[in-house]
């Protein structure tokens, strides 16, 4: 069997995903091509050697529309021969790209694939692409669609998490992220975004609030209260009779931040590594996708990860470091609980609550983060997972070489 190796993983810094955010003035296609060329330059890749480029993007319309992968390749000046495609598995798109790339390599039909994602949430806001799940009356009523935040609050209520617990987790994310930035843990994988003159636009995650306190977090408003009252709460509770009433506890402080960013992972076969003199950092041991109950929506990571562990022939205790996307605090705590994970091994350098969640790119970013941390601590195995819209989970297990 052909192994799928990870040769490198890079990312852009994450800019605040709104007007005034540093990356607001940077087009998503430029963000992505900047990373493509940075990756090319880091490894002197003859671009025509790349078999495919898979790019996750969750709002693939407007300037992110019409296959942003191929668009960015052309804009970056890569060889015409390199194909590219955009894919969408909602919040896990970036990791989905990695997993598909791994499968391509393991099939033996391709040898060098770039996987990753891009999302400029400030320029193409979440929801820009519409979709039947949310906006078609027939469909949305049948699948009992509710906004993710309601699902997160429902998890918290159902599991008996308190607001304090969620905020404490959020604070931990902020502290860990601040610590990692301060100690330069991310440095080697961050590609600064420069303007067309070479002047710096952004080289650090912009969303961080290292000064965050528990009191500060506690004072924030629960954002899904109002939306829930429109009927979403009741709709959700039709499926969860055991809960009397949804307690709204997620705030802007203990949910992921809206940001702009991009990430890429270079994946290939042993043969590609030898031909192009690329040093494998890790191999992809297993991947898994799964669907879960769609209304609560955010509980997919547990079954997806169990499935992946089984495929890999591993137990939870075989995993040295875990990355579960901090879309909201509650699903992370639920995941931690489900798999009995030591908090010291989970999201050790903070996550999307502190640094933001650039939808299509996050999965690839998390993979890079855990890989860097495994190397730093000289550990071996890492598991990356994300909860996904529509009720899905995606997991990847990697192992250092």
């Amino acid at each position: 069997m052909n192994e799928a190796y990870i040769f490198d993983a890079i990312r852009s810094p994450r800019g605040k995903g709104k007007q005034g955010g540093a990356l607001h003035e940077v087009k998503p296609v430029r963000l992505l091509s900047t990373l493509l060329n940075a990756l090319k330059d880091r490894h002197q890749i003859p671009t025509q050697e790349v078999d495919d480029v898979l790019i996750g993007c969750v709002s693939p319309v407007g300037e992110q529309g019409a296959d942003i992968a191929k668009t960015a390749l052309l804009f970056a000046g890569w060889d015409d021969q390199v194909p590219g495609t955009q894919l969408n598995r909602f919040c896990a798109s970036g990791l989905e790209a990695v997993n598909l790339a791994a499968m391509k390599i393991r099939s033996g039909w391709e040898h060098l694939v770039i996987a990753g994602g891009v999302e400029s949430m400030s320029r193409v806001p979440i929801g820009s692409d519409g979709g039947a799940m949310m906006f078609d009356p027939e469909v949305s009523s049948k699948v009992a669609y509710v906004p993710q935040g309601i699902g997160a609050d429902l998890i918290a209520t159902k599991e008996g998490y308190t607001r304090q617990m969620l905020d404490e987790y959020a604070l931990l994310s902020q502290q860990r992220a601040a610590n990692a930035w301060e100690k330069g843990y991310f440095q080697s994988s961050i590609i600064p975004i420069l303007d067309r003159n070479g002047l710096l636009i952004l080289d650090k995650d912009e969303h961080l609030r290292p000064e965050t306190t528990l009191e500060g977090l506690g004072s924030l408003r629960a954002v899904f209260q109002q939306i829930g009252a429109l009927g979403y709460d009741d709709l959700a509770l039709q499926k969860y009779g055991e809960v009397e009433r949804i307690l709204h506890m997620h705030t802007a402080g203990n949910s992921s931040g809206i940001v702009d960013g991009a990430a890429l992972v270079l994946i290939g076969s042993e043969q590609a590594g030898k031909t192009l003199n690329l040093k494998p950092k890790a191999r992809i041991r297993a991947i898994a996708n799964i669907g879960s109950e769609p209304t609560i929506m955010l509980e997919g990571p547990t079954p997806a990860s169990k499935k992946a562990l089984k495929i890999a022939g591993m137990e939870a205790q075989d995993i040295d470091l875990w990355e579960m996307n901090e879309a909201f605090a509650a699903p992370v705590l639920k995941f931690q609980n489900d798999l009995g994970i030591d908090i010291e091994k989970l999201n050790v350098n903070g996550g999307a609550i502190a640094m933001g969640h650039p939808l299509g790119a996050t999965g690839a970013m998390l993979l890079g983060t855990v890989l860097d941390e495994l190397e730093r601590q000289d550990l071996n195995t890492g598991l990356i997972t994300l909860c996904v819209g529509g009720g899905m989970g995606v997991t990847t297990i990697i192992e250092r070489i």
């Binding site: 007007q19 005034g20 607001h24 003035e25 407007g62 320029r123 303007d195 067309r196 003159n197 070479g198 002047l199």
Partner: protein, 701 residues
């Protein structure tokens, strides 16, 4: 620098008045003196002693632009970016200070100067003929950097602002009002101040549209399907037209698109980044060097002999009322000169006057002149069949057929009736002036004036100094050319002078490449891709292949044994003698021409010329076509045919459509890099022969 006056109703008038210069511009200095003034205004406002501010200028113009001296020297992105961001800050202070600012535009407001006006809350201009308004930065390879682009798009909307910005169109006061660049017109300076004050006292709500909460640009944003189509099509049009040789129009279009997507502040920053990129780019350096500095050098008279008073002709004579003669007549009467138009019969001369009338009518329709001007211009034209009517002329130009005997004859006839002080000019493109001057009794007054057809569109005139032409005659010819609003270059009297000689070199290289079996369409494409206005074969057709052949025949006669035909010459002979393809004038040359004037490459070319299986890279063809012109220009400099780099550069672009983005034939070397240029020239010489040889490689410009 800035005069400060406050009236009893607490309205301050700031009058810009830069020392030792005819016009105000925006530079570091004026930026520095603005800041304390603005700080003072802020204090006045706090004390409740400020109602509004009028910005105006003490000069005849308002503000004509930016500091090109500084920008053309700029090398560091950081410095340019912070310069332009600072400029923006100053403009922001003006529009957000809290009192109405009115731009009292007393005359021309261009570039940075108009950007300043856009940052005020109201623009009043004096409606006078010499007022020009607009953002023409693109013509020098730049773009507005003071927020003018962003503001104009906000005010006019994407579709209206785009042509003004990407084409750099300038407008007169009335047009500016119609386009919405100006809010109000007045007739004189007194009204200007009066209306400005009235506006200030009656308008207290002075928040700019882009500073209002939730505001959107005028019209549809960049996400609107119709705007997306518009922007996509504009990008295509510009790329097609410029071969992507000019970065500025595309940078402008992309910034416009961002204005329609993002907030004012983000879009402004993008404007600064693109501005910086353009300023530091080589194309901008080439364009500024040639079309600003070289051009001004020429206009200031660097090639005009010194020590002669200004020539102010009143009446000129033109011999020959064909297209060329009438064209010269047209621009001369337009410049206010009396024109004696002579041909062999009064009927033919009247026909020439008819051509002039048609041209004047086109001008009238285009709004460049008014009804009264047209009649006056026609009244200044005297048609005649008699040379006697030249007796009061200050200058006579012969524009008869390119035939030595005929030209000699009219010279002799005319000189009987003109005084010893009258300049006699021959309009020839090929015959050496010194040889024509032999027919003259006053060779010191005899000069060549080489106009290009169509005269009303082509802005260059070659002044050819013959062996005995006096310096004074050159100076007078120079003044005349400037008077009729053409650009004069002074060239030496050798075969083809400058323009025809280099255009010929380009054409002949094209034929050489064609005769080697390269595909004609690829040669034409390579020429245009390299930035030439026309492909070499197209240009050959326009010129007339028989005329080109004549030049070489004469050259062969003159040179005798020293003559070696150029590699394309065999093909030229065949075209003319065997295949009877004489060019556009016969509707049959390298192209076929249909009744509508559409041209198609002559299909038989592929049968008649054996194709080479090995087709050269486009770049190779481009380099051959361009280097031959540059190297021939270097020879012209060495031989004194052209004397200044300014004449060479400006002449090349205006004369035969040399690649403007390269800044002309000699600026091409700076663009290419001198060392690299020498290496490449050597390579071409080794491959294709000594026509690419440089006599003094160490001595190039």
């Amino acid at each position: 620098m800035i005069k400060y006056q406050k009236d009893t109703s607490n309205i301050v008038t700031l009058t810009l008045d830069m020392e030792n210069t005819r016009h105000n511009i925006i530079n570091h200095e004026i930026g520095r003196s603005f800041l304390p003034v603005l700080a003072h205004l802020k204090r006045e406002l706090k004390k409740g002693e400020l109602e509004g501010v009028i910005l105006t200028s003490s000069k005849n113009s308002f503000l004509i632009g930016g500091d090109l001296e500084y920008l053309s020297q700029a090398k560091e992105a950081k410095a340019v970016f912070s310069f332009v961001e600072k400029l923006k800050e100053v403009f922001r202070i003006i529009e957000t200070l809290g009192v109405p600012f009115v731009a009292a535009i007393n005359g021309t407001a261009l570039g940075n100067g108009f950007e300043l006006a856009l940052a005020t809350h109201y623009r009043i201009a004096i409606d006078k003929p010499d007022t020009i308004i607009g953002l023409p930065e693109v013509t020098l390879g730049m773009m507005p950097g003071g927020g003018g682009l962003v503001r104009l798009v906000w005010m006019l909307g994407i579709e209206k602002a785009t042509p003004l910005l990407t084409e750099g169109k300038t407008l007169n006061a009335k047009e500016a009002l119609a386009h919405g660049l100006i809010d109000e017109l007045v007739s004189d300076r007194r009204d200007l101040v009066k209306r400005a004050k009235e506006w200030i006292l009656n308008n207290r709500d002075i928040q700019q549209p882009w500073d209002r909460k939730g505001a959107k640009i005028n019209g549809k944003g960049s996400k609107h399907p119709s705007v997306q189509r518009f922007l996509g099509l504009e990008a295509t049009r510009i790329s097609a037209r410029t071969h992507r040789n000019f970065p500025a129009p595309l940078a402008i279009l992309d910034t416009i698109s961002e204005v329609g997507l993002l907030d004012f502040k983000s879009a402004s920053r993008i404007e600064s980044r693109y501005f910086t990129d353009l300023i530091l780019g080589q194309v901008c350096k080439n364009l500024t060097s040639t079309f600003w500095f070289d051009f001004n050098t020429i206009k200031s008279g660097s090639s005009r002999p010194k020590g002669f008073g200004k020539f102010r002709p009143k009446r000129i004579g033109i011999i020959g009322s064909g297209l060329m003669g009438s064209g010269i007549g047209f621009i001369s009467t337009l410049a206010g000169l009396e024109v004696v138009l002579k041909d062999v019969s009064i009927v033919i001369a009247e026909r020439g006057k008819g051509i002039i009338e048609d041209l004047l009518n086109k001008h009238l329709i285009a709004g460049k002149i008014e009804e009264g001007d047209l009649q006056a211009a026609l009244d200044r034209i005297i048609t005649t069949e008699s040379v006697k009517d030249f007796k009061d002329c200050d200058l006579v130009i012969e524009a008869v057929y390119e035939n030595r005997q005929l030209k000699n004859q009219v010279t002799k006839e005319t000189e009987k009736y003109i005084d010893n002080y009258c300049v006699f000019a021959s309009n020839t493109s090929t015959i050496p002036i010194s040889s024509l001057a032999k027919a003259s009794v006053n060779p010191q007054n005899f000069v060549g004036l080489h106009f290009f057809a169509p005269v009303e569109k082509r802005n260059l005139v070659e002044i050819i100094k013959a062996e005995n032409t006096s310096d004074e005659t050159i100076a007078r010819a120079f003044d005349f050319v400037k008077l009729i609003k053409k650009t004069p270059i002074v060239v030496g009297d050798q075969r083809g002078f400058y323009i025809t000689r280099i255009a010929g070199a380009y054409i002949m290289e094209g034929m050489a490449i064609l005769s080697e079996g390269q595909k004609a369409s690829r040669i034409e494409h390579a020429g245009k891709q390299a930035g030439m206005k026309r492909g070499p074969l197209e240009m050959a057709d326009d010129f007339g292949l028989n005329l080109i052949q004549d030049i070489f025949r004469e050259m062969a006669n003159d040179l005798g044994d020293d003559y070696t035909p150029l590699p394309g010459y065999n093909l030229l002979e065949k075209m003319v003698n065997e295949w009877e393809r004489l060019g556009k004038h016969k509707k049959a040359g390298f192209y076929d021409y249909d009744a509508l004037g559409t041209k198609t490459l002559w299909p038989d070319l592929t049968n008649l010329i054996e194709g080479d299986e090995v087709q050269l890279e486009t770049k190779e063809i481009e380099d051959r076509l361009m280097f031959i012109q540059v190297i021939e220009t270097i020879r012209c400099m060495e031989e004194g045919v052209v004397r200044t780099t300014a004449d060479a550069n400006v002449g090349s672009v205006l004369g035969w459509g040399f690649a403007a983005h390269k800044g002309g034939t000699l600026q091409f070397i700076q663009d290419y890099g001198k060392e690299k240029f020498l290496d490449r020239a050597k390579e071409l010489e080794n491959k294709y022969g000594n026509r690419f040889e440089l006599n003094n490689p160490l001595n190039i410009f």
